[in-house]
Amino acid sequence: MRDLTLPQNSTVANLMQRIPGVAIMLIICILGFALLSPDFLSMRNIANVGVQSAILLMISLPMTLVIMTEGIDMSIGAVLTFCGVVAAYVLGQTHNLPIAIVIAVGVGLVIGLMNGAIIVYANMPPFVVTLGTLGICQSLALILTDGQSLTDVGDSIGLAYNGHLLGIPLPIYFALISYLVSYVLLYHTRFGTYVCAIGGNRDALKLAGVRVNLHHVAVYAFSGVMAGVASILLTARMSAGHPTAAIGMEFDAIAAVIVGGTSFEKGNGWLFGTFLGVLTVGVLRNGLNLVGVQSSVQVASIGLLVLVALLLDSLKSKA
């Protein structure tokens, strides 16, 4: 039986075995783009990568937890989009930022709870439930906006993305706080221990008297809430609510988690790996942008990145 007290991956040996995959790819990407583009290593661009990766990190962190429970959240890009549109809509109606934030996060929470409840209590495969939710949220975003951008959002929300504190852009704070919250949740609470155990041996956990279902639903609720919070940044970035803004972003998130070394089996997850994975995806996208590669090719290259990561993984496990 698995050790329930701590995730296996926090042992030093495991860490050492894992670092290479992500870190090597990250370093290769950084070196490659530094050679290809002189602007890549400028302070401004480095800050850019950080700011651009903030939203991705905020949805990749809960994705890590979800995948650790042997699940998946295909809907997170669509939920992010829908919450962003809701925030813009509420802002247009009330011009009150706090209310918009509360409602957007609330919508995310409700969708996450619904995902979790259906998956856990009806015992349905996560990918199909969240695929259904993806369609539903995509539709809702289009219906709410009638396919147009909502641009009447006022100036206050733009600050969340463009503002600075002590010379550091605000999105970086958002990202760091999200990381800290996820870190504490996963490694320093009972909830985190249960998350690791749900993927490893759900039945044993149940037999131990843990209210597994509740914690399992909470994982998806966390995913929804984080999508809600990230949606504020998304709407702030564009100063508008756009109904297809983050469609497909779940792919970047899943890619970052896989590249970061979290596996689909047995709840082996690694939060810092996801952080590095997000940076790798962010650097790749930013660098390809600088070199002048279209965003459609960027998507394909992220797919390749995942393949390379998986190949490295299987080579390592054979060695």
């Binding site: 998946i72 295909m74 259906i118 009806a122 015992n123 349905m124 495969p125 990918f127 199909v128 439930v129 695929l131 259904g132 939710t133 993806l134 369609g135 539903i136 995509q138 539709s139 809702l140 289009l142 219906i143 009638d146 396919g147 497909g248 792919f251 899943i254 890619a255 896989i258 689909f264 279209q294 459609s296 090719v297 960027q298 998507v299 394909a300 290259s301 992220i302 797919g303 390749l304 995942v306 393949l307 998986l310 190949l311 299987s314």
Partner: protein, 320 residues
């Protein structure tokens, strides 16, 4: 004894199909009461043609789902195959080469999916989901927002033509159903596909080459996507980068409504046809009742979740 069990199993499958046909009938009756525009020869033929297009795409997917897998890349596969076929046809002027390009492209993508699932041992939804975005990326890159159109009349015949008053895609659909049913019910390959889906371990122990059968279903799913892409192309008479984007959810919905279980081993090609028919009727009904097209993905999403829920519900009931 085993014969008797087999018969009972078959009859419960027949019952399921009958039940679904009843749903088709109810929707038809409801729609004819709701609007006069529904029960016209034109609209009914239109529904059948749309359903047949959806069925073509979903038929190969059914085989994948029978093995407890999924192929999320069918829509993107169709898009890429259609664009490649269009590119070849407009550049060479040869319909035959276009055909070969479309079918070859689809099959090759299916082969790639199969490799990811069998050699890399990836969960099928991750492998094919990654494939989806890779294909989207490549297709967008090569099309770059351009539209290719204006194909040969003989080519367009397979999408828009009529034979004895019935649209050609319906004939193609019929051929697919017969071939698919014979393959799944009467060939050893088909039976082994069911066995892999029901229990891969016992299938392997009984001497079924599990990986090769898995490879087979992904290749077939790619092949049908390639074939479907040609019919779609002929029907639309134009190819754009985003051609297959909105087709993945409906194809999955058609398979699931048709009674093929996501957990593998249960279902049929005929069921998928009825599933495609039900979904098309619903969407067509929404259309003629002038309900906003933005609701279509919502309805499809709800239907997907509901049909898996019902599948599980009835399984539990029959187990107790």
């Amino acid at each position: 004894m085993s014969n008797l069990i087999e018969e009972l199993k078959n009859s419960s499958q027949l019952k399921n199909l009958f039940f679904r046909l009843l749903v088709v009938l109810i929707i038809c009756i409801a729609l004819s009461f709701l609007t006069e525009a529904f029960f016209t020869t034109n609209n009914l033929l239109n529904v059948l043609r749309q359903a047949s297009l959806l069925f073509l795409l979903a038929s190969g997917l059914t085989l994948v789902v029978l093995t407890a897998g999924i192929d999320l890349s069918v829509g993107a596969n169709l898009g890429m195959s259609a664009c490649l076929a269009a590119l070849v046809m407009t550049n060479t002027g040869s319909t035959l080469l276009g055909f070969m390009a479309g079918i070859g492209c689809g099959t090759l993508i299916g082969f790639g999916n199969g490799l990811l699932v069998t050699a890399l041992r990836l969960p099928s939804f991750i492998a094919t989901y990654g494939m989806l975005w890779i294909l989207h990326g490549i297709t967008y890159y090569f099309m770059g927002g351009t539209t290719l159109g204006g194909f040969d009349k003989s080519f367009r015949f397979i999408g828009t033509g009529y034979l004895y008053g019935i649209p050609v895609p319906i004939y193609i659909m019929t051929i697919f159903i017969i071939a698919g049913s014979i393959f799944t019910k009467y060939s050893i390959y088909g039976q082994q596909v069911y066995a892999v889906g029901a229990n891969p371990v016992s299938a392997r122990l009984s001497g079924v080459p599990v990986n090769r059968r898995l490879m087979l279903v992904y290749v077939l799913s790619g092949l049908t996507a390639g074939l479907a892409s040609l019919v779609f192309l002929a029907r639309l008479n134009s190819a754009e980068g985003d051609i297959g984007e909105t087709l993945t959810l409906p194809a999955i919905a058609a398979v699931l409504i048709g009674g093929t279980s996501l957990f593998g081993g249960v279902g049929s090609i005929l069921g998928t046809l009825i599933g495609a028919l039900i979904l098309t009727l619903v969407l067509n009904g929404m259309n003629i009742l002038t309900i906003n097209g933005n609701y279509q993905a919502l309805v499809t999403g709800v239907i997907i979740i509901l049909s898996v829920f019902l599948d599980l519900f009835f399984r539990k009931k029959s187990n107790t």
